[in-house]
């Protein structure tokens, strides 16, 4: 069982909502569409569901052309940002509704509703009405209804966006476990890189309607094909600096000179973009040849367990992700250290030419 998008495009009033997408999703796979607002995630899912017709290209299901086929004729579930439940029906009847529509036997309906409800931990709530539930419970109910009918394609359109982050964290983990055993194709749209990492599976990066990169989540994360992919799949975004490599040294922004060591020696002279993840910049050196830069703190953002520190000087702006709570005043001078072995290198056309070597024991 597979779903294939073949040169699929959708253009409305001259605007490309989806641009020449070529993707294949296999049964039993969990696929994340990651992109900013208006990247084309919802448009692509609506095409997959058959809710919209493509301007060009084909949609193949198990190799069979289903382009433009009505959604009712295919076994598809869709879960939206807003929790959509029937307010006048109990949780039980909400979950049962697609099965009643399919005229399933009462005993089978009962078995499936209870099984799905217990999976999503809402079994004690089956007799209640949606409006008596918290947001998280309402969304679980909507998810249960989408999952109960054993759809072959389940589409999630940013389903957790309206929930508290703590609930998001819990539901994300549940979803991941839930789909491990299912044979359907799950497609999940999100704007958050960290959500894509937490969900795992396959990640497809979308930008302005086009596919930037697709592959197993860690492959895409570790080897983003270009600077755009690197930026899209890094939260906070990857730090980028321009640099010129000569036979002997690298100069960042015509300002900061460093000797060529380690992997940088392999670069042929020319102009490059150097990228480093926020988590790889440190306040203390780890190696002798770390690049040292003098910066000022612009803002120290503290999450519960981490600090995102924005630093800048007259040439560079960077963000660092530090473990623990680090309170710094705006304007405080700091020295930051960039390990050479953590640098991504992109050529002047912004295509990836070098990925950081992973440290001992870190085989991919």
């Amino acid at each position: 069982m597979s779903l294939t998008l073949e040169n699929l495009s959708r253009t409305v009033d001259g605007v490309d909502y989806v641009r020449d997408a070529n993707l294949t999703f296999e049964a039993g796979s969990f696929n994340v569409l990651l992109g900013r607002t208006l990247a084309g995630k919802t448009s692509m899912m609506r095409l997959m569901a058959g809710l919209d017709k493509p301007s060009q290209g084909r949609l193949l299901y198990n190799g069979e052309d289903v382009t433009g086929q009505n959604v009712q004729r295919r076994n598809i579930s869709m879960i939206y940002q807003q929790f959509i439940n029937y307010p006048t029906l109990t949780v039980y009847e909400n979950i049962a509704s697609p099965l009643r529509l399919a005229k399933m036997a009462e005993s089978e309906i009962d078995r499936r509703v209870k099984e799905t409800a217990s999976m999503l931990q809402i079994e004690p709530l089956l007799k209640r009405y949606p409006l008596e539930l918290s947001g998280g419970q309402q969304q679980r109910t909507a998810m249960a209804r989408a999952l109960v009918k054993d759809a072959t394609l389940v589409l999630f359109d940013e389903p957790l966006v309206n929930l508290d982050y703590k609930l998001r964290e819990e539901l994300r983990a549940e979803l991941r476990d839930l789909f491990r055993e299912r044979q359907c194709i799950a497609v999940y749209a999100t704007t958050e890189a960290n959500e894509a990492l937490a969900l795992g599976g396959t990640t497809t990066l979308l930008h302005e309607g086009g596919v930037v990169q697709t592959g197993p989540v860690m492959e895409v994360y570790r080897a983003p094909v270009n600077t755009l992919a690197a930026q899209l799949f890094s939260e906070p975004p990857m730090n980028m600096v321009r640099g010129r490599v000569t036979d002997t040294e690298v100069t960042f922004d015509e300002y900061s000179h460093h000797a060529l060591t380690q992997e940088l020696e392999k670069l042929t002279p020319g102009d490059y973009w150097f990228g480093i993840r926020p988590s790889h910049i440190a306040l203390v050196p780890t190696n002798d040849d770390d690049l040292e830069m003098s910066m000022e703190v612009a803002l120290s953002e503290i999450s519960g367990s981490e600090t995102f520190m924005h630093v800048e000087n007259s040439h560079f702006e960077m963000v660092m992700q530090l473990m623990g709570v680090h309170q710094y005043h705006t304007g405080a001078p700091v020295k930051v250290y960039l390990p050479i072995n953590k640098l991504f290198v992109f050529d002047k056309d912004e295509q990836l030419v070098h990925t950081p070597s992973r440290v001992a024991g870190g085989a991919v």
Partner: protein, 366 residues
């Protein structure tokens, strides 16, 4: 700008409350000091929006008093309290220009035209929207609109406090930090009492010097981000702050400490002393995933556990281990490697073992 005091405040949406469950806010006393940057953090349904509406005057509390600089304001409308509010969705006039939007609150207050011009320019510069002043508000992006919303609150010089209710909800993740930074700068520059309501720990901790964590109609901790992380005052704070939250384990009294299953955890002697004096059987130990140490090698003070799962989140890994019957989460850096189902050795540094009796932290008496 004002000090905001909540005195024996409680609120029930029911006319005839019969017990604590009928209260959205259970009785509390709280002070927001003049010029402070505060956050009110909690999950949906914890009472934080009710509290915000009581401060602004949209709701009259059923019990207790709201005092601005010592003066009772219970009966005053939001307008008479001089409170500015910024909501989830931008509240601006689409058909007006940015300039007109910012000038509007001042015109209403009969501020002289010459002063309005200066003030609007000043606020626009702070918000970095001075090049948008003559654009119609409807043509702005979501983050620009929200900046104008904030500007409408900031522009009035007589404002007592600015209340923010999840102001970044509609902003793209990539732009959120810029607005957070802007808010922080604004607070430093204007020295206004600001209260920021959110369910997001990052937004709360970045913005606020002190955070009030609300749970079940109560403020369970009022502290700095460091305090919330290192010494959560209530098991809920431990769970809610941090990703993943604190490991919280039900325990029993044992000699020199506590135990769960066959695992004995020695505690500091002051903790043991306090434990002896307390009678409650509701005892829990909390330790953050960041503070559990994990090693391939056993030593005198380690506990053998089994690796259940390793979740790779790119910048770090979350390792789930099983110690006896108890599952624990351990946060490790991205280089951590271990086989599933293999043994590892854990240690729990004593200074990070928090003891909770009836869900509240047992603290060393000074």
């Amino acid at each position: 700008m004002a000090e905001i005091q909540l005195k024996a405040l409680a609120h029930s949406y029911s006319d005839t409350p019969t017990g604590p469950d009928d209260y959205a806010i259970r009785q509390l006393d709280h002070v927001w000091h003049k010029g402070g940057a505060y956050a009110l953090l909690g999950p949906s349904g914890c009472g934080k929006s009710t509290m915000l509406n009581i401060i602004s005057g949209l709701i009259q509390p059923s019990e207790g008093e709201v005092l601005f600089d010592g003066k009772r304001v219970n009966e005053l409308s939001p307008r008479d309290r001089n409170i500015a509010q910024v909501f989830q969705f931008p509240v601006i006039y689409d058909s007006m220009t940015v300039y007109e939007n910012l000038a509007f609150p001042l015109k209403n207050n009969k501020v002289p035209a010459s002063r309005i011009k200066v003030r609007v320019q000043e606020i626009a510069e702070v918000l970095e929207i001075e090049d948008k002043l003559h654009k119609k508000a409807r043509n702005l992006t979501a983050d620009e609109k929200q900046k104008v919303s904030m500007g409408r609150g900031l522009v009035r010089e007589d404002v007592s406090a600015i209340l923010f209710d999840e102001p970044l909800t509609v902003i793209d993740p990539q732009l959120k930090w810029k607005l957070r930074r802007k808010l922080k700068q604004i607070h430093e520059q204007f020295d206004i009492t600001m209260v920021y309501v959110t369910h997001d720990q990052l937004e709360a901790s970045t913005f606020a010097d002190r955070i009030a964590v609300m749970y079940d109609g109560q403020v369970v901790q009022f502290g700095t981000p460091t305090e919330l992380f290192e010494a959560p005052n209530h098991t809920f704070v431990g769970y809610f702050i941090g990703s993943p939250g604190m490991n919280i384990v039900e325990v029993e009294r044992c000699s020199d400490g506590v135990c769960f299953g066959s695992t004995v955890l020695p505690l500091e002697s002051w903790q043991v002393d306090i434990l002896k004096r307390m009678t409650s059987g509701n005892l829990k130990i909390g330790i953050r995933p960041e503070f559990i140490e994990i090693s391939p090698i056993a030593s005198d003070d380690t506990y053998e556990a089994n690796v259940q799962d390793i979740e790779d989140l790119g910048t770090y890994k979350i390792v789930t281990v099983q110690l006896g019957e108890q599952e624990l989460k351990v946060r490790q850096n991205e280089e951590f490697e271990a086989s599933i189902d293999s043994p590892v050795h854990l240690s729990f540094p004593k200074q990070w073992l928090m003891l909770y009796v009836d869900e509240f932290l047992v603290q060393e008496q000074q």
